[in-house]
């Protein structure tokens, strides 16, 4: 026990001050690329690039557009169609994996780790959709997850917010269908996978805290 306590004191505080201060890290190619030189229409496997601009919802962070494009390092690329002030103090999240490669799941879970410590912002996970204010959906819509996704949404009490986290959930990316076949996402968080800072930023937007 003593060893753990000493270890904690030695570590000090490592939690980010984001969103009050700028994010101290970002996964470069998970941010939306911007044109820097050369062709404005290099090969893109999802057709996300058109005349020098990138459709964030389609970008799968593959970097095939390098060297004409480079990462923007901007983690604030999420779009929220709504703002729910009643969730300003506290928001409970239910995460549902609709068909991921696993990476988005771990980036969502990273929010509970010591670097991000989402609890300091009144954000927490819940183990059942009945207690959730928001549904965080990751992955393409696998046929077998259509029913569980519908049931999870129906089980939630209003107000309820649906997040599509990552290119697969938003657009289906290379691997399948987007979740829009079953649910309309209120908030989209682009990236493959989105950086944890980008997910945190999106949650704050939906609560009207940005």
């Amino acid at each position: 026990m003593k060893a753990w306590i000493l270890r904690s004191f030695r570590k000090g505080i490592i939690t980010t001050k984001f969103p009050k201060e700028k994010n101290e890290a970002a996964s470069p190619w998970s941010t939306i690329p911007v044109h820097v030189s050369g062709s404005k229409d290099p090969y893109c496997p999802t057709g996300a690039i058109n005349d020098g601009t990138v459709k964030a919802d389609l970008c799968i962070s593959c970097g095939m557009c390098y060297p004409e494009f480079e990462p923007s390092m901007d983690i604030r690329g999420s779009v929220s169609k709504l703002s729910v002030p009643v969730l300003k103090k506290s928001i409970r999240l239910y995460h549902l994996d609709a068909g991921t490669c696993g990476a988005c799941n771990l980036e969502v879970m990273a929010l509970a780790g010591p670097h991000y410590d989402m609890a300091r912002l009144g954000i927490s996970f819940t183990n059942t959709p009945r207690h959730a204010d928001a549904l965080l959906v990751t992955g393409v819509l696998a046929p077998g997850m259509m029913e569980p996704l519908k049931k999870a949404f129906d089980a939630m009490a209003a107000p309820k917010v649906v997040f599509a986290i990552g290119a697969c959930a938003i657009s289906g990316s290379l691997l399948g269908k987007s979740i829009s076949e079953v649910l309309n996402a209120d908030v989209t968080v682009p990236g493959c996978p989105p950086d944890p800072f980008a997910i945190m930023d999106a949650i704050q937007k939906a609560r009207g805290r940005q």
Partner: protein, 395 residues
């Protein structure tokens, strides 16, 4: 196509199968592939048991998976699992090799470096492409950094489940530090887009990564030894989900005392000095010990790999057409050995056979959990490092 215990391609006339840890496939006349699949059945009369349904989406699980847990009181008599809920049935055939590579990375995004390296290696071999030692060392570096990250995640699941909250947070802290160091060096926390057939796709900067990894490994060593002094933690893992024999993979197999690691016979690891940690218990504790000791070994491999990396050029080689070649290979991913066999024609995939380590480990888990209590379920399952994403079908 469903995954079986072997990777195979059935082209209608012949069945091309790839054994474990092998790059050489065997061809034989097509027979029923179902021969490879062995149905498990419970010897118990299930009408006398309680069935506890768990999943497919439930708090506490990392991925979507469904279990029927058959119990008699607290004791688990059997489990049945269904991994098909999140089955993406990824399409590969008909695609160009570059397009297929992007999908292979996403077969299991958490082990993208291992899967993309395996895919590239098979394609390069089939096209007689010469890969520089710099690129080989870089791929080894990526895969070992991925191994540390993956093992730290498994340890965080075990410590979290056992309410060892300080150890849990410290492990997550180390993993996040590693992911940030990887992002700085490779431009992506999960190595997406780094590997290309014939080389790599963008500049990398690995100068500081070795030192950072060594620091993380040393810090984890302290956590590991402190955890091994915790009777509460050890008691949770001891004798949970005992697995013996070769019908498992990776740290699970090595945790049952079998000293077998695909890296020992893989061409990328020729000349690399490392030990293969084993433990004899076969339980969750043995797997925890193997993973913990592998973290230190991986840090040592990374040091060696970095010393073998010079100036990496981005001159990619052209993917040229080859006619009707079948080629296979294996890779020791953090969860165990994966086998992949490809049929390539005119720069496109005409057939694919794949077997992930999680297919073997899930079967082994289902066999092992009999007789354990409910509380052991989490430790048994999490200690295997199973990824449902890589168990899916492919086309």
């Amino acid at each position: 196509m469903k995954q079986t215990r072997f990777a195979y391609i059935d082209d209608g006339k012949s069945l091309h199968t790839l054994g474990r840890f092998s790059e050489v496939y065997m061809s034989q006349e097509t027979k029923e592939v179902n021969d490879f699949r062995q149905e498990r059945s419970s010897g118990k009369d299930s009408t006398k048991l309680s069935i506890f349904p768990y999943g497919p989406s439930s708090g506490g699980m990392v991925e979507s998976v469904y279990f029927d847990i058959l119990t008699e009181g607290e004791k688990i008599e059997d489990i049945r699992y269904d991994t098909d809920f999140k089955n993406r049935a990824i399409k590969f055939t008909g695609l160009s090799l570059e397009e297929a590579l992007l999908r292979m990375e996403r077969m299991n995004g958490v082990h993208a470096a291992s899967y993309s390296s395996l895919f590239c290696q098979i394609c390069e071999k089939s096209m007689d492409m010469e890969i520089t030692d710099d690129i080989k060392n870089l791929r080894v570096l990526m895969m070992e950094a991925e191994r540390i990250s993956s093992h730290l995640f498994v340890v965080s699941r075990l410590t979290g489940g056992a309410s060892q909250n300080i150890a849990h947070m410290n492990t997550l802290l180390l993993r996040e530090n590693l992911l940030r160091a990887i992002a700085t060096a490779f431009g992506h926390r999960y190595f997406f887009g780094v590997n290309r057939i014939g080389g790599i796709g963008r500049p990398v900067n690995v100068k500081e990564l070795g030192e950072q990894v060594m620091r993380i490994s040393e810090e984890y060593g302290e956590i590991y030894h402190t955890l091994m002094d915790s009777r509460v933690f050890i008691d949770r893992l001891d004798r949970s989900a005992i697995i013996k024999g070769e019908q498992s993979s990776g740290p699970v197999m090595r945790g049952s005392g079998i000293k077998r690691d695909g890296r020992s016979s893989h061409r990328y690891y020729e000349g690399v000095q490392f030990n293969v940690p084993t433990s004899n218990g076969g339980d969750a504790l043995a797997r925890f010990i193997v993973r913990s000791e592998e973290i230190a070994e991986s840090a040592s491999i990374i040091e060696q790999a970095i010393s073998g990396i010079g100036d990496i050029k981005l001159d990619s080689q052209d993917v040229h057409a080859v006619e009707g070649i079948i080629s296979g290979g294996f890779m020791e991913t953090p969860s165990g050995d994966a086998s992949l066999i490809l049929k390539i024609k005119s720069g496109h995939l005409e057939g694919i056979g794949f077997r992930s380590p999680s297919v073997l480990n899930m079967e082994a888990f289902a066999e092992s959990i009999h007789g354990n209590t409910f509380a052991d379920f989490l430790f048994g399952y999490e200690s295997l490092g199973i990824w449902i994403s890589e168990m899916g079908d492919f086309q």
